[in-house]
């Protein structure tokens, strides 16, 4: 009996060797991508959560234009466009043969519907400002759509490439939150809440078909579990790995490839500019003089990240170096606090959402601010609480969050935004920027805007979030940087 058992196991071994041999011949066509946060729903036109776009952008939904891995605007569902000489009319030529996942044709009517829906008064679009200045969307014929503007908008083509501006079908728009129907190379297959979202290849895709047959986004909130899942091969890739301290371990392991790229995520110590004592610019300047950015980057992110001194990514050509405005100077900071009427400091709270950069960064910043007498009570909050208490109700003193939207300096002009900041000088610059198309002039204006918010010390600007991509070394085609919120799987494939 024992003898026959061992013979059986030997033949089983042989068989499995054969099978793995055949697997080598044809690369795998499935992937499991880990993500730390679960999207609240899957309609990118109706929510601000980055996780929605990460799952859906380019994979499920497409817009007229699209942002590629380098952050450039490339044609999407519009194969070309013409801009009138006055810059007020954009005529989009749509691609032929594009179908939604439910079989409906994509036509100019869908363009009109999608944009008007996003702009409507009752729209739940989180980035309605993207569509400011659009006066009408006309259907010229089934394959041509015309957008008319009230003023030239230099960024229109870029804006239309956002996840919030994707094309949806009138028949399925209402149910996209639970059952998204788009035009992308993947279609929605299933969502096990709290665990995973699965996508299948769309066989009827109009463009280059995806190399993968199946893709799964697996939600792993715990950094330690994420490390274990990667090491054991349960998960094949993380677009942005949540445990920076584990990166050296992956870098040393030939099974994995680690790519540390850039994101549009300005990680900032958001400050409630209307709440005393933070309404006093001297208090905010004292905080700015106290921040030791490199200590936060090293301590919280294990060295991954670039210090910033304004709300703008350092790799952007329009970035201005404002590191000299508020250098770390504790004596100056204490003097400013004393001038503001707090010679002995004061007590305040800091609400920290779950990501590592916030929870760990918050402890370090609290320790730094203690050096000038500001005693922060640390209040950890979940994302839902953060969105409600901090972002919506503005019930906070300080918080730490990474603003991962691209070109988002305009939020400093929003009066109802949670910073509660208002500056006429800033608004004037933004108004000029709005009607400026010349790149050099735009860069100058953006520089002025950066300088204003830095001088006003609106928030504590800490660091630009890095994109810590970790993947199985046999996978290629993932984005190195994150110029927009996306985990684009359209070009991802296994090499063996």
């Amino acid at each position: 009996m024992r003898h026959s058992m061992s013979r059986l196991s030997i033949s089983a071994l042989f068989l499995s060797a054969l099978l793995s041999g055949s697997a080598l011949a044809a690369p795998r066509t499935d992937i499991i991508v880990g993500m730390a946060l679960e999207p609240p729903h899957l309609d990118p036109t109706a929510g601000a959560a980055a996780a929605i776009d990460e799952v859906t952008y380019a994979n499920l939904f497409e817009g007229l234009t699209r942002i590629n891995a380098k952050g450039e605007v490339v044609p999407g569902l519009a194969e070309s466009w013409e801009i009138s000489p006055d810059g007020l009319t954009y005529t989009f030529k749509l691609r032929a043969g594009v179908k939604f996942h439910d079989g409906a044709d994509f036509t100019a009517d869908d363009v009109k519907f999608s944009i008007e829906r996003a702009m409507a008064a009752d729209s739940t679009n989180a980035q309605k400002a993207l569509f400011d200045g659009i006066t009408s969307v006309e259907v010229v014929d089934a394959a041509t759509a015309k957008i008319t503007l009230s003023r030239p908008i230099g960024l229109l083509l870029y804006n239309l490439g956002w996840g919030d501006a994707v094309m949806v079908d009138p028949a399925s728009a209402a149910t996209n939150k639970e059952k998204p129907v788009g035009t992308g190379p993947f279609k929605f297959a299933g969502w096990a809440k709290g665990s995973a979202i699965t996508l299948d290849k769309n066989p009827a895709y109009w463009g280059t078909p995806a190399a993968l047959d199946k893709a799964e986004f697996r939600i792993i909130a715990d950094p330690a579990a994420a490390t274990a899942a990667m090491l054991s091969g349960d998960v094949h890739a993380f677009a942005n790995f949540p445990a920076p301290e584990a990166v050296p371990q992956f870098q040393a392991d030939p099974r994995f490839a680690v790519v540390i790229g850039q994101t549009e995520g300005e990680t900032i110590l958001s400050t409630n500019n209307k709440k005393p004592p933070f309404d006093n610019i001297k208090v905010r300047q004292a905080i700015a003089h106290t921040l030791d950015r490199q200590a936060v980057i090293d301590g919280a992110m294990f060295g991954q990240g670039t210090p910033i001194f304004t709300h703008f990514p350092p790799f952007n050509p329009a970035y201005v170096d404002l590191s000299g405005v508020y250098p770390r100077d504790l004596d100056k900071a204490k003097a400013l606090l004393a001038e503001a009427g707090f010679p002995d400091g004061f007590k305040a709270t800091i609400k920290l959402p779950p990501p590592t950069y916030a929870r760990r960064g918050g402890e370090i910043i609290a320790a730094q601010l203690r050096e000038i007498g500001i005693d922060l009570e640390i209040i950890p909050v979940e994302w839902a609480q953060w969105l409600e208490q901090v972002f919506t109700n503005k019930d906070y003193d300080l918080t730490i969050v990474s603003h991962t939207e691209p070109n988002d300096i305009g939020i400093y002009g929003r009066k109802d935004y949670y910073f509660q900041y208002a500056s006429e000088a800033f608004d004037a610059v933004m108004a000029k920027l709005d009607v400026t198309a010349d790149p050099a002039a735009r860069a100058t204006l953006l520089g002025e805007a950066q300088t204003i918010i830095t001088n006003d010390a609106v928030n504590g600007f800490i660091f630009q979030l890095a994109q810590t991509g970790i993947r199985d070394a046999k996978i290629e085609g993932m984005w190195a940087d994150a110029p927009i919120q996306a985990i684009d799987l359209t070009a991802v494939r296994w090499t063996e």
Partner: protein, 290 residues
């Protein structure tokens, strides 16, 4: 035995300390417990380093002469954090046991003295609380009322109430039929007075043993809650949270998990052994039965 004078039954046995120290579990438990208590007490006056400062340059240093237990991911001295963390653990466990005793013992004594429907109501109420796994319910309480050391104390304390109610009731029920209690009743003492003067002193040893064991469970529960982020909040150090934070640092510095883990083990083991030993010493019948 049945006619023993209550005063004599309650009086401290002069041999109890000698017998206790001869009991190996008690002795080991006592030494470990004292070590933890001393570490916590010492931290009020002195720690090797301050624990509020962050020194990123010195992070994740292995144990050395300068930092006996090494440093954590913020460069804080782990020995100092464990000492202050001991304070936190002891305080939470102590107050939680206090809540359990102050509420549970009178309830149990009252139920035993009155009997009948009142006894049934109180004890079934206890059963209801008992039916929920204690730690799970503590998680629920802190999730509803918010994380923090105070809510952790309350959550752990609530689940100590039925434990002490049961011990007190069982002890009291065994005493009520005793002849000296009957004598006291015949002398006209009321139930309340008998409970105070005769029952309580004679079940004290049971309560002390149970208190020691609940104390060690309290330390464990506090560590569990703060591991989940529901206990003491940063920057106040807590063993459980140190362990949680060390979890992803294991590859870089195993010592960050080792020492808080050891501290929890020593504290829980120490108080448990001490309770076990005390029971053997104070309650010889139980020992014989085992």
């Amino acid at each position: 035995m049945a006619m023993l004078d209550p005063a004599r039954e309650a009086a401290p046995d002069p041999g109890v300390w000698r017998r206790a120290l001869a009991n190996r579990s008690f002795l080991i438990g006592l030494i470990l417990s004292i070590a933890i208590l001393l570490a916590g007490a010492l931290s009020f006056f002195w720690t090797p380093y301050g624990i509020s400062g962050v020194n990123v340059a010195a992070r994740l240093q292995a144990p050395s002469a300068a930092h006996w237990f090494g440093t954590d991911h913020f460069g804080r001295d782990i020995l100092s954090m464990i000492m202050v963390g001991a304070r936190n653990s002891i305080a939470v466990a102590l107050v939680a046991v206090g809540i359990g005793m102050l509420a549970g013992v009178p309830l149990g004594l009252w139920a035993a003295a009155r009997g009948g429907w009142l006894d049934a109501v109180v004890m079934r109420g206890n059963d209801v609380v008992f039916a929920f796994p204690a730690l799970l319910s503590a998680v629920m309480i802190t999730a509803v009322f918010g994380p923090g050391a105070v809510n952790a104390i309350i959550a752990i304390g609530i689940f100590n109430v039925p434990v002490f109610a049961r011990v007190a009731r069982a002890g009291a029920m065994a005493l009520w039929p005793r002849d000296y209690i009957l004598a006291a009743r015949a002398a006209g003492k009321g139930k309340g007075r008998i409970t105070r003067e005769h029952i309580l002193p004679n079940i004290m040893h049971l309560l002390i043993v149970q208190g020691t064991i609940q104390f060690s469970l309290g330390i464990l529960a506090e560590a569990g809650l703060s591991y989940l982020g529901l206990g003491a909040q940063p920057p106040a150090p807590s063993w459980g949270r140190m362990l949680a934070e060390a979890q992803t640092m294991m590859a870089l510095g195993p010592h960050t998990a080792l020492f808080p883990g050891l501290a929890i083990i020593i504290a829980v083991l120490g108080f448990n052994l001490m309770g076990d030993g005390l029971r053997d010493v104070l309650d010889p019948k139980l020992k014989a039965a085992r």
